[in-house]
């Protein structure tokens, strides 16, 4: 099953995603997308690793070029890709300070390949579209691009979920088992 999950920060997306990925058959892959930029990120990675410890995930570091997971993994496994947010940021903003406004198309093409070939995958994104802040044009391009990737993924997935403080709304399809 292909499942897309979004929602606000600290709403339980990653925990839900882990449980759903574990429930699918085959080798279990965690696709780690974060390019740690500072101490805070490093700590976040340590916390996420602890949470996954004992769950038998094979961790694959793939901060850019998401389609490369197709060569590194058995495509009949169960995948957890967390998150589109980081993938896009890594492709759009380079460490040297460059900005690539076409990153969305590149990530989108990679995602399509992944969704074409991997039947069991849970993909996590972040819902960053409902505040009253006016952003600079680069941030706005990033928001718009992430929304386009979300919509592309949601359109292709069997199930689309929104996590709201450990509660789940199914916008498309459904999942049967109790998560929390």
């Amino acid at each position: 099953m292909q499942i897309f999950i979004s929602g606000g920060c600290k709403n339980g997306k990653s925990t839900l995603a882990q449980d759903l990925a574990v429930g699918q058959p085959g080798k279990l892959y965690y696709i780690a997308t974060m390019n740690p930029a500072d101490d805070e990120d490093a700590q976040r990675i340590v916390r996420h690793r602890k949470e996954r410890a004992g769950m038998n995930f094979i961790t694959i570091e793939q901060p850019v070029n998401i389609e490369e997971i197709l060569e590194k993994c058995h495509i009949d496994g169960s995948f957890l890709l967390d998150s589109l947010t980081a993938l896009l940021a890594n492709e759009m903003f380079s460490p040297s300070g460059d900005f690539d406004e076409n990153a969305c198309e590149r990530v989108g093409a990679g995602l399509e390949k992944v969704l074409d070939q991997i039947p069991n995958i849970v993909i996590v994104s972040d819902y960053i579209y409902s505040d009253a802040i006016q952003y600079d044009p680069l941030t706005e391009t990033y928001r718009k691009s992430l929304a386009a990737l979300d919509a592309l993924t949601a359109a292709r997935c069997d199930v689309v979920l929104e996590a709201s403080y450990t509660q789940i709304t199914a916008h498309k399809g459904s999942v049967s088992h109790e998560i929390y």
């Binding site: 897309f4 979004s6 606000g8 819902y127 960053i128 579209y129 409902s130 505040d131 009253a132 802040i133 006016q134 928001r143 718009k144 929304a147 386009a148 979300d150 919509a151 993924t153 949601a154 359109a155 689309v160 929104e162 916008h171 498309k172």
Partner: protein, 129 residues
Amino acid sequence: MILIFGGAYQGKLDYALQRFGLTKDDVAYCTESDRTCPNRKPIVYEADKWILALLRAGEDIDRHIEQFFTDNREAIVICNDISCGVVPEDPILRKWREEVGRFMGEASQRSDEVVRLYCGIPTILKGEK
């Protein structure tokens, strides 16, 4: 009136155009610099921006919004949900966030149908499901 709302870039306008068989010529595009009441087209797009224009011009919001609802009884009103973030530092944006919230509550009450878009997927919150 039909209210369609959702976060930024969630596919609100595409949904309305497709569902009602309308084109971009049928859309009144609001901007944050134009305070004329959008009331001549079947679709009002981004009513929140019109409210920001009113606030920036120091207009009497309540009076304008009342007029908006009178003029747009048959319209499809599309609005960005800007209610779920941190309170903005800028006092105008702070006021804007609240006025848009009040506007949406009122619009929702007056509408026969209320639809929320999420990642391109509609959920009908009010009306025939």
